[in-house]
């Protein structure tokens, strides 16, 4: 075996190549890491948003899009009395009729952006137990409660919307009455208003959905209810399944993320392999000399791979530091809400594996081409 120092010194033979290899692999690793973190974050928020204990009653035919759904007000009280096994608190059953709507919101300073609105009554807290008030109080008439990540959707910092400030929603002003968290769910980027306010604002007398939280009841009970009350034209869907379907709806976006990352990565990879071709080609005679001395091709291949791995793993390390600085904790807004990027073990592992593959699989083609020529010919080369 060639000593490890030989690989190390070869690395510094050509500083510009070293820079290229380290930089290139850092770029590839950072991109793939970002893509995985992005997709993972989106998956995480969508899967955390749905609870298997919650069943949503939506208008028939609107199972895919809650915003188009119309549910008569009567469905709420009917659900309360007819569905067995409901969760409840102080004799209040956990049934919450809600209006969900996207509308432009204008912050005190700045331009209006599309925001996710939810018109609720206090009972909503029973079906969405992940919602915790951070400060202030639940919105009454003329008030709005702001999710922790909601300011992001308006392009503002998390703390930008302070209590007491006014938001303009559909030509009407609302006072910020509170801030809430709903860790890891899409609710956290919503604006919650009083249900009657939102109904007036939108001039509608129907709900978007009735959320039902079960304790010892079964989702089938809700299904039976929807079936029996076919006059209400309801359809029931478990909340986790609803978000699961939504997640599939975002499949193409995730695919695009992958594709973009893969294309740029492939470009960098081919650039890198090309640099290696040139670098190794200039060492054909040296490789042949080492073989003449008695080193096997395998030993030389190991040394070349060591050399590349050193460069690509350095790049990987840099990429991880960059990811920690640039990606970790960054909030990404998408149409459904917002999520935080996080360098989870899976994300870090992806980065490490990518770096290792670049150094091994990426090195094989140029290395093989360098070691392939017959010895007598290689010894004559210049």
């Amino acid at each position: 075996m060639l000593p490890f120092t030989y690989a190390v010194r070869n690395l510094f033979r050509d500083p510009s190549r070293l820079l290229q290899t380290v930089g290139g692999s850092a770029l590839v690793v950072l991109l793939l890491t970002a893509a995985v973190a992005f997709n993972e974050g989106m998956d995480r928020v969508l899967s955390a948003s749905g609870s298997p204990k919650n069943v949503m009653l939506v208008g028939k035919g609107s199972e895919e899009s809650i915003e188009r759904s119309e549910v008569p007000l009567a469905a709420e009280s009917a659900a309360k009395t007819s569905i067995p096994g409901l969760a409840s608190q102080l004799n209040t059953p956990a049934v919450s009729g809600e209006i969900i709507f996207q509308a432009p919101i204008t912050p005190p300073s700045g331009e209006s952006k599309q925001g996710q609105m939810r018109g609720v009554l206090p009972v909503a807290l029973l079906v969405h137990p992940e919602v915790v008030l951070l400060e202030g109080h639940f919105p009454g008439p003329g008030e709005v409660m702001v999710g922790k990540l909601a300011p992001r959707k308006l392009g503002l910092a998390e703390e930008a919307l302070a209590l007491g400030e006014m938001l303009v929603i559909g030509e009407q002003e609302f006072r910020i009455s509170g801030r809430f968290a709903a860790p890891g769910t899409v609710l956290e980027s919503e604006f919650w208003l009083d249900r009657n306010d939102l109904a007036t604002l939108m001039q509608r007398d129907s709900l978007s959905a009735v959320y039902v939280r079960l304790s010892d009841g079964e989702p089938e009970d809700v299904e039976v209810f929807a079936f029996q009350r076919n006059d209400l034209e309801l359809s029931s869907i478990r909340e986790d399944i609803y978000y699961d379907k939504l997640s599939r709806f975002y499949g193409p976006i995730k695919g695009m993320t992958w594709l973009t990352a893969a294309l740029v990565a492939a470009g960098a990879l081919f650039g890198g392999i090309n640099t290696l071709y040139a670098a190794f080609a200039s060492r054909i005679r040296e490789m042949a000399t080492l073989q003449a001395i008695g080193y096997t091709r395998g030993a030389l291949l190991v040394s070349l791979i060591q050399e590349s791995l050193l460069a690509t793993l350095t790049g990987t390390l840099l990429a991880m530091v960059a990811a920690l600085l640039l990606l970790e904790g960054r909030t990404i807004a998408f149409s459904m809400g917002a999520f935080e990027l996080s360098l989870s073990p899976a994300v870090v592992l992806t980065g490490l594996v990518t770096g290792a593959l670049l150094g091994t699989v990426g090195t094989l083609p140029p290395a093989i081409r360098t070691l392939a020529p017959a010895l007598p010919k290689a010894l004559r080369s210049n």
Binding site: L2, Y6, N10, R13, A292, I293, G294, L375, P376
Partner: protein, 233 residues
Amino acid sequence: MTPFIDINQLSKTYQKGKTSVTPLEKLSLSVPKGEFLALMGPSGSGKTTLLNLVAGIDTPTTGQLIIDGQDIAGLSRAALAKWRSRHVGYIFQLYHLVPILSAFENVELPLLLSKMSRRERKAKVESALELVGLAERSGHRPSELSGGQEQRVAIARAIVHNPGLLVADEPTGDLDRESADNILRLLRELSREHEKTIVMVTHDPKAAAAADRCLHLEKGQLVDEPEPATFVA
């Protein structure tokens, strides 16, 4: 006594598509142990080809090739590599030192192929460098050495693992007279005092004169006397 190098009806044919070149044809040759043999001949006569076969760098197409009692004609690539690491030292016209390694580290390369303590390696490298007269340059990189010094480091590298056979392809071809004479003296000393069998290819009659015997190769075969045309150039 059996010869150190025993070559019988050795042929080498290179196939390139439909055309084939046969730089060596049914060549027979024997070299006793410790002999310093010079090979001369016009360009393209097959000198390097023969040297490469003897050094186990290349494999013959047909014929017998026995070195120090071992038939190396049929060895696999890996077995040949191992054989080379024990039995051959190769000296090139252009030295072929590894530029990023010091003289010491270059000479050490063959020793890293066998189990040996660091101390043992150091002693061997130092004595090899001593023998070629470069003990005090062991920390220098090839770029910091003259051509003659580089070739002496290359010789130290070729002998450090104590092989029985040295092959040299125009080892003085790139050197001035004085450096060349130094190298030739060194090779003579290795054959006389250390019983190395040496096969050296050269174009230089003065270099050939330093050897014990000189053979002429022409069109892949040994000839008794060089044709007069050889000397015209």
